[in-house]
Subunit: 403 residues, 2 copies
């Protein structure tokens, strides 16, 4: 597809924020946009109609997961994921790189590709750049991703450089392997927290003229300040006319900060994952509905929220459902959090158009109590330590997919 | 409320089936009717709107569960369960008798009432007939149930007789304890599989002139033939002008057989419980969607079914969701099974009106492959043995609530 699939509608005067429109074979996506995560071909607990009803245009799904379950022959039989999962809007698939490096075990990485064992049944599989493209052509997403090597966040300069070199090599081969002309193949800029590596890889990849560029390898335990600095530096290296996709980032404050630095697309499991844990977004920060304080609260979680949950049920009822481990709890919480994010993205888009993005950003960040940074980092690193797999032959820990 | 809350519209000429209309403070219920089970104030996985949308008029909820969680002060604060759970149609609450005798532990039963320990946290509680009515007045259901003693299915004649005596005594006290005049209090005919005990208790209870009568203590491991015989004999003892409610019975074949014997109301967790296990109703019997045979099936589970699941998704997709333990699986399966039961009940009601019930019954039972009876009984008894609690001081096993 030609570059004209992305059209810039407005560029903010006071920040790097942009308002754009992405055209795909399954419809248009207004950017900046957040993609809910449908890892295994379903946005957990929700029907496609409900996701659409909240205003989402595009979903993310996952090649690694779909390849293992239900398996590509099943998806092929349905002519692709759209029909299989009943979603007729745009889809983006991740190549599986991140999951192979986080979920799977016994990885052997060479320039050819990566051999790994399934996290489900231990069976051995090979992903090469060529296969990653072929698999994604079977799945049939509108945007597909080049296979990348996602280095461990604390792997050190040499490891990250080696991963960047391979990511570059693989991106070239993905481009050559592409057979379908109705899918947009995006490249992923890796390089960890080393600006020189990000710069080098961005230069290589932009020379290959992909229709879009992703920034990978962030939100893996580094401080937010460092992440935002890397985003800013990397975005500056990317062509202004192409969409920029920040992978795996999606707390409300990260979305606002990312847009301010010129990001157009985001995906993240966080809003849906924390929802299932009872953590709900409000304009003043996250609350946990399992807290005993909500036991008798007749008001909804957020009286100003227009999601089905807040329009219909009290905080006390939601508290009761979580307390009783009722399946409806996870559904109602997911609806709420995804409505919150959808509304935030719509407000961001509107504010870029009318020139008020900077004041929206300041107002939002002033009102939104983020998780205390040292506590957040401590929790995230502890979690990474507990969940890492070290049997990849290198002794290097990798962060698990937080799906 | 006066007896006129139940109106018989038609009595079948060739069977005991009746078509009726039950009037409650929250609307009318066309009978024969099946009540989906909202044990903890939610039909598992579904929104109230969805349950209504499938054609259900009335729900069942559970005093024992609501009393323990969220606790009656919470429900009272909301003015009752209707507002708390967002369901403005009729509700029936079970008194908690069955759950106390099945889920709770350390029961001490005297004529005064029953002391038990919560299955959640082991805390000690007392249910008396007076308290059971008071609790149900707080919950505010349209139909409430007298506290009964549900004897173990293999407790022997003396135990069952003693339970029947107490059930009679408690029913009288429930009637006296009633303060609200907008709720219908139904009595429960116990008596196990002993026709003489059923007869004696039915005579006592009908003399007290309740607005409705339930048949309890069935579907607890006895052969279906025996159950149907008991239903037939017990119904014959009940006044024709009052609704008859068969508690805890609800496989498709049991509904058809129950209607044929004059039952007006049913409740059962089976359709929703087996759904979450992947067992789906079709006109030819239950299928299990987790079976590998469905892996590639492009057709819906039942191409003729008009439920949201069958209209939208393939059997292969449902198989994938179950296989991947995705939460949407339980929701889609519940929607399908409850739609199946709702449609069956609507067909039954229509057929009674136009005089074709008997042929509907014969046709349904001829086409519907029920679970093999010896296998079913073996499984049920094994399950009862594994789940019974014997720490009630009597050494007698009680069946657990299958919620």
């Amino acid at each position: 597809m030609s570059d004209s699939n992305f059209r810039l509608l407005k560029t903010d005067a006071q920040s790097k924020a942009r308002r754009g429109e992405l055209t795909t074979p399954h419809g248009k996506v207004q950017t900046p946009a957040f993609l809910p995560v449908a890892t295994q071909g379903t946005v957990k607990t929700l029907l496609p109609d409900e996701v659409r009803g909240m205003g989402y245009a595009m979903l993310l799904s996952n090649t690694y997961h779909l390849y293992l379950r239900p398996g590509l022959p099943v998806i092929e039989r349905f002519g692709g994921l759209h029909r299989f999962m009943g979603w007729d809007g745009p889809i983006l698939t991740d190549s599986g790189g991140y999951q192979v490096f986080s979920l799977a075990t016994l990885r052997r990485i060479t320039d050819k590709g990566v051999t790994f064992r399934s996290h489900i049944d231990g069976s051995e599989h090979l992903f090469t750049p060529e296969l990653a493209v072929q698999f994604q052509e079977i799945i049939g997403a509108d945007i597909i991703m080049a296979l990348d090597e996602c280095p461990a966040p604390d792997g050190g300069f040499e490891k990250v450089r080696e991963a960047a070199r391979r990511t570059h090599l693989w991106a070239e081969r993905c481009l050559k392997a592409q057979r379908r002309c109705d899918q947009m193949l995006y490249a992923i800029v890796q390089g960890g927290t080393f600006p020189e590596l990000r710069r080098e890889l961005a230069r290589f990849l932009t020379a290959l003229d992909f229709p879009g560029y992703a920034i990978g390898g962030l939100s893996l335990g580094e401080p937010k300040k460092e992440m935002n600095a890397i985003i800013k530096e990397t975005v500056a290296l990317l062509p202004p006319g192409k969409p920029r996709y920040l992978m795996g980032v999606g707390s409300p404050e990260d979305l606002v900060e990312g847009v301010a630095r010129g990001i157009d697309l985001f995906d993240c499991a966080l809003p849906t994952r924390v929802a299932r844990n009872g953590s709900l977004f409000t304009r003043s920060g996250r609350i946990n509905i399992r807290n005993a304080a909500y036991r008798q609260v007749e008001q909804p979680v957020d009286p100003k929220c227009d999601c089905h949950t807040c329009r219909t049920f009290s905080a006390a009822y939601l508290h009761h459902l979580f307390n009783s481990r009722e399946l409806l709890a996870y559904r109602l919480a997911t609806l709420h959090n995804l409505t919150f994010i959808s509304r935030l993205m719509a407000q961001i888009r509107d504010s870029i158009m009318d020139g008020s993005f900077n004041s929206l950003k300041d107002e939002f960040l002033a009102g939104y109590r983020t998780t205390n940074e040292p506590v957040r980092l401590e929790q995230k690193r502890k979690w990474l330590r507990e969940h890492v797999s070290t049997d990849d032959g290198t002794g290097q820990p990798y962060p698990p997919a937080m799906m």
